[in-house]
Amino acid sequence: MSLVYAGMCCHAPGITVRPEQADPELLAGLHAAFDQQRQAIEDAGAEVLVMVSSEHFANFFMDNMPTFSMGIADEYESPIENPDWLKVPKVTIPGSPDLSQRIIGQLLETVDISWAQEWKFDHGLAVPLNFLTPEYKMPIIPVNINCQAPPLTPLHRAWALGKALRQAIDAVPEKVALISTGGTSHWPCTPESGKINLEWDKVLVDQLIHKRKDELLDYKFQQTFIDGGAGAGEMRTSICVAAACEETVGEVLFFEPIPVFATTCVIATFFQG
């Protein structure tokens, strides 16, 4: 079995852009939880980190919008945003092209994933990696799910991708960690920006931790948008990773609304090998 760790984490740009504006205690807790996740990934002996994210029109646009995509590059530039604004370093992050190819070969049996030889990481990857792989030496394989441009990826297909990822990862000799980013309620870049639906977030994270498939796949597009904002579409990433380890009950490492980051910040373990 070569999946050695799976979990979810948050990726709000505020986490690195304006940490000084957050409650210091909450910030310390968030940092500690990120560090705990980093340690768990390292302790599990992970050689590669597969990051399931929802990018924000940095690489993919409506001229060729993938429902799913996986990177196959030797290396990736990060971040695409101005590093002085995002306050994360401009780095070149190693990929794992050979492993990407082997995983994609397997995935294509059941999911019709696009693949990409170029990929500039946006804050959806750059913010969590700043905490999870602070030396930027761990090879990363980025995966994207269309959570932004309707028609969004159906939830049951995000689940199917998770199942396919698990099967593909378990078939390779490498030790692989799998992390999703994003998906709690938020209303990014709109007049409602800053709104948080804490009760909705609690229910979602509980369903994810307990891998309640039927409940997770029952969210409706319009109601989710109303309850959780446009940002809630990113739940697809965590539904995917939850599917990859449906058999285990996870554990919440951190769950706190941080208003200046405009979302509930969550770090959770879904699977520990």
Partner: protein, 103 residues
């Protein structure tokens, strides 16, 4: 499709440093490369961020365009509200579903 090329321009500006430089030097020249309606062209030239929001530009793309003009975050949020008041509810895209759009 509505506002497609408006968003394409913003997407390209965000990814292509050469285009961005050219845009900073001669905005009209770059705007002439895209199929835009008169209203779109005017909103982009001004720029009228509130109107662009009402037209249906996704915030994740619009934010970057506002940043090109060094618009502070608070101002960005304010002009969207103003856009809704002045130009009416969002006309296309995701945000036609949003609550603030129904006010």
């Amino acid at each position: 499709m509505s506002v497609y090329y408006v968003q394409k321009l913003m997407y390209n500006l965000n990814r292509d440093p050469d285009l961005r430089e050219r845009f900073d030097k001669d905005r009209e020249d770059v705007l002439s490369l895209y199929k835009l309606t008169d209203e779109e062209l005017e909103a982009l030239t001004k720029p009228d961020i509130g109107l662009l929001y009402v037209m249906g530009v996704n915030g994740q793309i619009l934010m970057h365009y506002a940043a090109i003009f060094n618009m502070p975050w608070a101002e960005y949020l304010r002009v969207m509200e103003e856009g809704l008041e002045k130009h009416g509810p969002v006309r296309s895209g995701l945000y036609v579903m949003s609550e603030s759009n129904e006010k």
